[in-house]
Symmetry: C2
Amino acid sequence: MKPLDPDTGAGMTAPLPYVLITSVDGEGRPNAMGAAWVTRVSFSPFLMMVSIGKDRYSRKLIGETGEFVICYPSAGQEKGAMYCGTRSGKKGDKIARSGLETVPSAKVRPPAIKDCTAALECKVVGEYEAGDHILFVGEVVAVQGDPTRPKHLFATAEYKLVAMDPEGGA
Amino acid sequence: MKPLDPDTGAGMTAPLPYVLITSVDGEGRPNAMGAAWVTRVSFSPFLMMVSIGKDRYSRKLIGETGEFVICYPSAGQEKGAMYCGTRSGKKGDKIARSGLETVPSAKVRPPAIKDCTAALECKVVGEYEAGDHILFVGEVVAVQGDPTRPKHLFATAEYKLVAMDPEGGA
């Protein structure tokens, strides 16, 4: 082991689970952003945490509405998932442009991404500043998913997306 | 897609990056716990977040000393990494019993796990309650690692450990 610069060290921790975070504006128009800084943080209640850049449009929407859905895009959705991860949704309907489709959620206004592996519907219960990002802690109030699509996407150190199932199978 | 019970949905998000969190007590005695609820949360400053159960010994140690190291155990360290993830360090030296060894860190008192892929040395800058866990946000003050050991461990839905490199290669 030897000293490493921080960026090199961070790259060595990849791949990271890759998700699309959906939210809605005041008129119910949906948006989706790509994120890899996301994790469960509590068993009971079932809480998830996602870290979102302070200047992101999704930060504004989630801060205003208190709801978001964490969607795990499945194998085959790489192109649309990457599109949503590299464009802003401030102007127009990013989800439609990405080629992805949505389905209604059970208990929150933001939709789920159709055909994703799992979608965790969250209501914000905590919001904390952390450097250049905001930590949104959400209680999972409903879950839907597709067990026939077990492979979901991970972001590599080179920021490509690779698919893996819950047992680590490629 | 169909409604899923929360545990099923959570299982479908695996595998999760698996780390060992090292800490020290007031006399400098080291401990290590396994964790999978960990992620980067800020670019600048470089902040990491780990969620630790309220009743964990490591929560007490990190809360008292304000320091921890996030170590990514490498391929071949599965047995020791699993040992540290399933035993408490309240009694005796868990790291020694696990068969793992330690090396000194550069800027904090907790050591790094020898031969791990990467070790991120953290000083606590935020601590938040989230359900049955505590979120510790740490600023990364130094990094060491071993680029010749790129494969590190992920916890599967069946709580086995599998090794993968930063590009997703098994």
